[in-house]
């Protein structure tokens, strides 16, 4: 093992070596290592290239906020994930890790030329550089940007993993299992509440895992963590590790993403890769701690430049020294302790550079005791080293003047600009933040949800303060649940409290315009970019953010937001709270699509509704089309027929003899009650009072605006009972509308509405021989023309099943629709099909249904209408009960716009050449030679080849169409202009002679 691994140190298992690969090279680590800690143990800091400038980058953190060390991980075939944070991914034997965003190799990358041309890529470069010439956009700029920018590559194979989702209800959800979260959980659980404690790390402990020397209640910190976790489990607390709270939603609903298998060498195949939890908590305690801020200076992104707290974590938690010779650069006391720990572990601390003129005397004494050089009131103005920092340029600062530099050799630079409370989840709730002048950061202010914020998340520092706050907040959470508990009081020895100051970019003696001082590492945004944005007129922080892309990378500015704010505030000359903070949005960390999808993929993406006869259609080779959630038989191809040939044959067979069609998807609503007829009179345009039981009528439904909403045939079964049919897609909508009027406008009406769509299977028989096929099966209804004329309905038996039999037609032929209980649908279909064989019965699908109805000019609501079509526009004025005092839409029909001349009206179109089929949706113009943009006067709504007419037919909505009969209009297409003649909409049997037996 390398000299960077400290024997026996950390929480990794030194007895369990693990081997994985990085860019194909074998790397050794220990169980418990992350990719980053194992690489650092091998002296490897260079882990990736940056987004825009392709600058060499290393891990700057040890946690999920990592902006730089993004890698691709492969966990076997199909299991590739880009942009995995090396600081989070646990290693296992055989894991394949690859660096990203480099070509041909990580140490030599051609894209790094961008870095030399950085002047081109300044703030807003997208808006400036790639403006003109316009023709360059498609061919030059976009391909260039796509190739050069971006992070990892998307996986190309389908994801073989499965993902789960669960709901959870809990009294108290505690987010973060560091000292504050553990203490809060103890309070809440001891008070007898149901507690859920989650943490994104593989184990509980949080910052305590990096502070082994602290003594809590006279116990080493790690022992205290172990004892506490054991007690929490004893108390029934649900402790979830590797679980990230990604979003905090209304009424204390929190989304958790639990990672279950990414850390395993051989998952069992049963366990889902990730599980999304939707948690509803009575109380939430946010104990997410704080994130360390970088300092902003030239070259602060070089591999080897790292946050001091993270270096401390690598040492104490992973047993890894991040370098042999470190320079510390800090404006906060915390980095001094990192220096002490590293010095004690054998790393040479070349200097502690503190921007403050007078650091804490105790710290100075401690450093002096270790022989560490202290450079107070100094700053760093640059770093050197191509793939790893090798020296640091340090200058004294007196007031505003920066003195002469001294170059100090090192192999790592550990920085700390202080700590930012992690308030992302709090911000999701629209909780407000208040600027804390002393701490130079935002702290939680007004709470929008039932939650408490504990510990470093509200600006506290030091383990003792945080533990006691956690205990108090846990008690406060359960108090609002009616449980009283006195919070435990903790004493901590070897605590490391501290303070610090906050900075904009650090001062320099060099040309600040040339400094590559990064604020947002992941999006390559520098301090200069932010200042440029302000100079170019961006005033709002939201504009600065979008112009520079600061904080817009996948880390959402976890490290860059406050530094960016400090610089923008300085450039604007406005104090930070006046500049404000940009909005944090879920998810807290990048989350896989798989976790969001859960079970809803493939055939589970949405339900497929199937009719009782669907299985017959499938066995008989139907092609399907989706109609809302239904899958419907589209046509039944025979012997290699294409759709056109199949539909022509089905149309011909139906008109010549008999066709059979599955109409079960039609919406059906039972309208029952003493006031049923009054209700029908008010809902539908048509008059219903005089419709006798046993008769049926075409019903038209409008909105109160006067536009067509739905239609369907309605049978009156008894004085107080109607069988209403709706369009396939409109069933739920129509019932909803009926319920709305019944419940809220006419609660006086005594009517019940019941959806019966799925109770009935509906078989339509159409054609001159339809009655001959059907009649032998009918019991209890005389099928003669006199006894059962067109537009009749009867409750009888068909094929031995109770049935509602309609004589209606959507084809222009003699037609029947038989409704039988759904379970009997397929049996009756097969009986009728067998019996029909001697008449060459032809099963047909929705396409033939469409053609046959179009030949007769019957409309399809939603195809020939679009929510702006009145009954008059559609040629359906006859369906309006003009004598009725009111119905839904009656007043609407009298609106000025609806009675105006020249509205778009539904007409027929015949193309002049008799061969060309128009495209549905094609636009119509009156003069094809007018200059562009042409005035469009309508569009084609339905268009088919008609076997009966022997030519293509179409319907269209055309301005003033009824007055244009016989006129020629034009349909411009990309390759030509089509001429067509305006006609009526009935293309076949205009007298309706074929409806008679």
């Amino acid at each position: 093992m390398s000299s960077f691994r400290v024997s026996g140190r950390g929480r990794v298992d030194h007895t369990q070596p693990i081997q994985f690969t990085f860019d194909g090279k074998k790397i050794k680590g220990f169980k418990g290592d992350t990719v980053a800690s194992a690489l650092l143990a091998n002296g490897i800091h260079l882990m990736g290239r940056s987004f825009k400038y392709h600058r060499p980058r290393g891990a700057v953190t040890a946690g999920s906020e990592e902006p730089n060390a993004l890698v691709g991980t492969r966990r076997g075939p199909g299991r590739f994930e880009p942009n995995t944070r090396a600081t989070v991914q646990e290693i296992w034997d055989g894991l394949q890790v690859n660096s990203q965003n480099r070509y041909p190799s990580l140490s030599f990358d051609i894209g790094a030329i961008n870095d030399k041309a950085y002047m081109l890529f300044s703030a807003g470069f997208y808006y400036k550089t790639f403006m003109w010439p316009k023709s360059f956009w498609d061919k030059v700029y976009e391909p260039f940007i796509r190739a050069a920018a971006g992070l990892g590559v998307s996986p190309t194979e389908p994801d073989p993993d499965h993902y789960a989702s669960r709901y959870l209800h809990t009294d108290v959800l505690i987010i973060g299992a560091g000292p504050a979260g553990l203490a809060a959980a103890l309070s809440a659980a001891r008070a007898g509440s149901r507690v859920t404690l989650v943490d994104e790390n593989p184990e509980a402990g949080g910052s305590l895992l990096s502070e082994p020397s602290a003594q809590i209640e006279d116990m080493p910190a790690w022992d205290w963590v172990g004892k506490t976790v054991a007690e929490l489990k004893e108390l029934g607390v649900k402790l979830m590790t590797r679980t990230t709270a990604i979003g905090y939603y209304h009424q204390n609903m929190v989304g958790l993403c639990e990672k279950l298998t990414d850390h395993l060498a051989s998952p069992d195949g049963e366990t889902p890769r990730e599980r999304m939890w939707r948690v509803r908590a009575k109380q939430v305690v946010l104990a997410q701690g704080a994130l360390e801020k970088p300092l902003v200076f030239d070259g602060n992104d070089r591999p080897g430049v790292m946050l001091a707290g993270s270096a401390q974590t690598y040492l104490n938690r992973y047993g890894v020294r991040v370098g042999d010779k470190a320079v510390i650069l800090t404006s906060h006391d915390s980095a001094w302790y990192a220096a002490f720990d590293l010095a004690d572990a054998g790393t040479t601390i070349a200097a502690i550079v503190d921007t403050r003129a007078e650091p804490n005397a105790d710290l100075v004494a401690e450093a002096t005791k270790r022989g560490i050089r202290i450079m107070a009131g100094h700053t760093v103005t640059g770093t050197e080293g191509r793939l790893r920092v090798k020296s640091v340029r340090v200058n004294p600062v007196t007031g505003s003047s920066v003195g002469a530099p001294e170059v100090i050799g090192c192999d790592c630079l550990l920085m700390s600009g202080g700590w930012t409370p992690s308030l992302h989840l709090f911000s999701h709730t629209k909780g407000t933040l208040a600027w804390d002048e002393e701490r130079q950061t935002f702290l939680p202010d007004h709470k929008a949800e039932e939650c408490e914020i504990a510990g470093a998340g509200r600006g506290l520092w030091g383990i003792e303060a945080v533990l006691n706050d956690g205990a108090a907040m846990g008690a406060a959470a359960v108090k609002s649940l009616g449980k009283d508990i006195a919070p435990a009081s903790y004493t901590v020895a070897n605590d490391r409290p501290g303070t610090g100051v906050s900075h904009k970019e650090l001062p320099t003696d060099l040309d600040a315009g040339k400094a590559r001082a990064f604020v947002d590492y992941q999006n390559d945004v520098t301090a200069k970019d932010l200042r440029l944005a302000v100079r170019e007129g961006m005033r709002s922080i939201e504009h600065v953010k979008r112009y520079t892309t600061n904080g817009m990378a996948t880390d959402q500015g976890k490290m860059s937001n406050i530094n960016g704010l400090n610089i923008a505030s300085d450039a604007l000359g406005v104090p930070q709270p006046k500049v404000g903070l940009t909005t944090f949005r879920p998810p807290y960390t990048p989350t896989t699509f798989g976790a969001f999808c859960g079970y809803h993929k493939g055939s589970h993406f949405e339900v497929t509704r199937k009719t009782p006869i669907d299985s017959w259609a499938e066995e008989n080779g139907a092609a399907y089309e989706p109609v809302s959630l239904w899958r419907r038989a589209w046509y039944f191809p025979k012997d290699g027929e294409d759709m056109h040939a199949a539909v022509d044959r089905e149309c011909r067979a139906t008109r010549a003899s008999v066709g059979i069609f599955d109409a079960s998807t039609l919406g059906k609503i039972e309208v029952v009650g003493p006031d049923a007829v009054e209700f029908m009179n008010r809902m539908y345009t048509n008059p219903w009072t005089k419709l006798a039981p046993g008769r049926a009528r075409y019903g038209l439904l409008l909105g109160d605006d006067g536009f067509i909403r739905d239609d369907g045939v309605i049978g009156r079964l008894a004085d107080d009972r109607f069988h209403v049919t709706t369009t396939t897609g409109g069933a739920a909508r129509v019932l909803n509308m009926m319920e709305d009027y019944l419940q809220t406008e006419w609660p006086d009406l005594d009517v019940w509405l019941t959806s019966t769509t799925e109770q009935w299977a509906t078989i339509a028989l159409n054609g001159p021989n339809a009655r001959k096929v059907l009649e032998p099966f009918v019991e209890g209804q005389d099928m003669s023309d006199e006894a059962f004329p067109h537009m009749s309905v009867s409750e009888c038996r068909v094929g031995g099943f109770p049935a509602r039999l309609f004589r209606i037609s959507f084809t222009g032929e003699v037609g029947f629709e038989v409704n039988v209980p759904a379970h009997a649908g397929r049996a009756l279909w097969e009986m009728l099909y067998e019996a029909g064989k001697k008449y060459d019965i032809c099963p047909y699908g929705t396409e033939t249904m469409h053609v046959l109805r179009a030949e007769k000019g019957y409309i399809i609501v939603g195809q020939d209408t679009d929510g702006t079509v009145t009954p008059h526009d559609a040629g359906l004025s006859w369906a309006i009960g003009k004598m009725k005092p009111d119905f839904v839409g009656k007043r609407g029909l009298a609106r000025p716009d609806l009675v105006a001349e020249g509205r778009k009206q539904l007409i027929g179109l015949l193309t002049e050449d008799g061969k060309t089929k128009l495209e549905e949706g094609a636009q119509i113009v009156l003069d094809p030679n007018q200059p562009k943009p042409m005035k469009m006067v309508g569009h084609v709504t339905s268009s088919y080849h008609s076997d009966a007419a022997g030519r293509p037919i179409a319907m269209a909505l055309l301005e003033d169409g009824f007055n244009r009969m016989g006129e020629t209009i034009y349909i411009p297409m990309p390759d030509r202009v089509i001429k067509a003649q305006v006609t009526g909409t009935v293309f076949y049997d205009p007298e309706g002679a074929r409806l008679k037996l």
Binding site: Q251, D704, D705, E739, R891, A894, R895
Partner: protein, 100 residues
């Protein structure tokens, strides 16, 4: 996901069971033929579109099926009250006092 109290079921249930149904207390005129074009236009289309407490309708679609009324703050997405369709329109000042 919101939790919504259905005043008919007297239960607080997930938003997924409910559908939104527009602004509340817009009664359809008893005799539409007697209202002017402007009044009918207002009935059909003109809504308050408030920022803040909003009187609106919901339907317990996947439950009892009843329409009911609610006052919801459109800024915070918080329900101040839900009530039955035939209950009187609650006074806003009292609701705001209660929610404090």
């Amino acid at each position: 996901m919101l939790l919504i109290h259905c005043p008919y079921c007297n239960q607080t249930l997930p938003e997924a069971e409910f559908t939104y149904a527009g602004e509340a207390h817009i009664a359809r005129p008893a005799d539409p033929s007697s209202v002017s074009d402007e009044e009918w236009r207002d009935f059909l289309f003109i809504r308050t579109n408030v920022k803040g407490p909003h009187y609106e309708r919901w339907r317990h679609f996947h439950g009892c099926g009843r329409y009911f009324n609610a006052v919801r703050d459109t800024v915070s997405d918080r329900f101040l009250i839900t009530y039955k369709t035939d209950d009187p329109r609650p006074e806003l000042s009292k609701l705001l006092e209660k929610s404090k």
